[in-house]
Symmetry: C2
């Protein structure tokens, strides 16, 4: 049930926020940067961190009590590590995409730049200082993430496996991001299979498979029984399906979502020339006479109006693109539900949260 | 003997280069970025990687044979990890400092920008693409570093301690770098004790204490006997002294070194307004009538000529600043030699390399 999933996320989100806040020291040079990181993480949905709890519950066959104490235990800290990694990637991403707004507030570099400007730097110099500090803050997020993992799990028999998974999952994202930058810079269209590989590398493996697997492996140390490769493998596969569902929805929200609920500037995906599956299929299906308008819109060459968005929507419906992507989403959803159904030894509440998760990633509004 | 140290560095450097090259896959999306990283690392001095070998030899009481096989063993891979971390920090640093030249070749972002420009991007857009790709490549260096550590040492009883040390050492550098950016942006002078704290955080702990300690801890798993906290602690302290010596020499080279041997643009430290100990003491000691010229030079407001550099040199000698810093360097050198003397169970060749290391960091020309 989707409401079970949302309740689960809400309670775990509060635990993770406390885990991250507990990392902020009372004084010293680390305090300022870590306060800023904790504040930034606190404004996020923390899906990845919540998935660590869900992976752990799935592997243990029982739901951990969402009590106060869990905030600083192994699972809470491992979840915090995932959110720190994510914060680092976003801090860097927003520099590359020149985004000024994230989670309904100024991005990390934009805020540092504003502060530098208020110290009477020139606009250009302030932007450079803002970007420089955001690069460092992102780096710090990664290092604090690995430090948190170590505090959480050093001694856990699967600790090395977990660090290795995180390092290689993050490496996959970094390379996918480089491809994304190259795509953004180039004007050539990208084949659909490359877009889908990007969805797997940048979203599915990193955002879904990794935290589910980390949670399952982390639980191996806490529970009396070990966790088999089987359950980790199945959760990893579930993550791939969820990632595709999530990304398809993300692309929809990036085009048609309301800025109030997504916290992003309207049409920002268009402005960035983002190479989405939707764009690829729409451009491929469109008749020649629509091409100039579509290319101008998707190339980010024009200011996007509500009328343009309506035009894209109705064209995608008329050409069957909306339907073909909805069909792809439906199939991935069925496969995900099939994997959840086949997971052994799930507690009933964990099963319900997993089922609701499939609905959530398909239909979320932000 | 300094020649023993240089021989040691040269042989270990070749091993580390092979360890890093072995990380480049034969194909796939990772190949291009990792080739570039290996090429970049290969042009470095690899002091940090060599110190991992030296820390291991110091802890084991014997020198490992510098044979081919060691390139892919635990110590070789741990050394490679240190060089990957360093490559990531440098890729990001050069963006912040707007440096175009590093190790005698274009910096990572400058090279990516050149390539983007050759694909007929505008200059501004090419620079942004270059910086974006260099941010990603730096991130990838960190993640590959932790992945290499895991491959090298997962199973080593001290593995968790090593990952934790690396994460916190790198975190310390990231925060020090933020302070450095803030100092560069501000025009206020910085108290000497804060400069020395920066030297410890950004250079001594990270560049010397950390790799020596990592090597000693890594050797604990390979050797029959364990490695006590004592030897790790002493190497850590030795690293602090070496770091101060290194940084003092670095500041000298940044001002007076020849661009041919340092591979840096002449006067780049002046242009960046770097807050060094030398600068701090010289400004404090100078009579009022020299202040305008000095401030213009150290503020990076003027193009620096050879005459300006001579002026700074002779002023620093006349005012006793050169002598006071040489004295500080001499004291740190004596303390470092004292620590080496007191290290127990050193093999004679390892002792000679450590003694030569103290000389090397004090006198190196690049």
């Amino acid at each position: 049930m989707i409401s079970d999933t949302l309740d689960f996320f809400e309670s775990r989100r509060a635990l993770i926020a406390r885990s991250i806040e507990a990392l902020v020291p009372a004084s010293g040079a680390m305090r300022g940067p870590l306060e800023r990181i904790a504040e930034f993480c606190g404004r996020g949905k923390m899906i990845r961190g919540c998935l660590v709890f869900l992976g752990a519950d799935s592997a243990r066959g029982r739901s951990a009590a969402a009590d106060e104490g869990a905030a600083t235990t192994d699972i809470g800290l491992a979840a915090a590590a995932m959110e720190l990694f994510q914060a680092g990637l976003l801090a860097h991403d927003d520099i590359m995409d020149r985004d000024e707004l994230r989670r309904g507030a100024p991005t990390i570099h934009a805020r540092y730049a504003m502060e530098a400007r208020s110290r009477s730097e020139t606009t250009d110099e302030a932007l450079h200082v803002g970007e420089s500090l955001a690069i460092c803050l992102g780096d710090l997020c990664y290092f604090e993430g690995f430090a948190a993992l170590t505090r959480a799990l050093n001694g856990n028999p699967r600790y090395g496996e977990i660090v290795g998974l995180c390092a290689s999952g993050l490496g996959e994202v970094a390379v996918a991001q480089m491809t994304d930058v190259a795509w953004g810079a180039g004007s050539a269209e990208v084949p659909e299979e490359e877009i889908l590989a990007m969805y797997r590398g940048k979203t599915a493996h990193y955002s879904f498979s990794l935290p589910l697997a980390v949670g399952a492996l982390a639980a191996a140390g806490g529970a009396a029984h070990g966790v088999g490769a089987d359950i980790v493998g199945r959760l990893y596969e579930l993550g791939e399906k969820l990632g595709v569902l999530f990304q398809i929805r993300d692309d929809e929200l990036g085009l048609f979502g309301s800025p109030e609920s997504t916290g992003k500037a309207p049409g920002s995906d268009l402005r960035e020339g983002k190479k989405t599956l939707f764009r690829s299929r729409l451009l491929a299906a469109s008749p020649a006479e629509e091409a100039p308008r579509l290319r101008a819109l998707f190339g980010g060459e024009v200011e996007t109006s509500a009328k343009d968005i309506d035009y894209i929507r109705s064209l995608s419906e008329r050409l069957g693109v909306a339907r073909s992507i909805a069909e792809m989403s439906r199939r991935a959803g069925d496969e995900a539900r099939g994997i959840v159904r086949a997971l052994p030894d799930l507690a009933p509440d964990t099963r319900s949260v997993l089922e609701g998760l499939v609905e959530y990633v398909t239909r979320r509004e932000r």
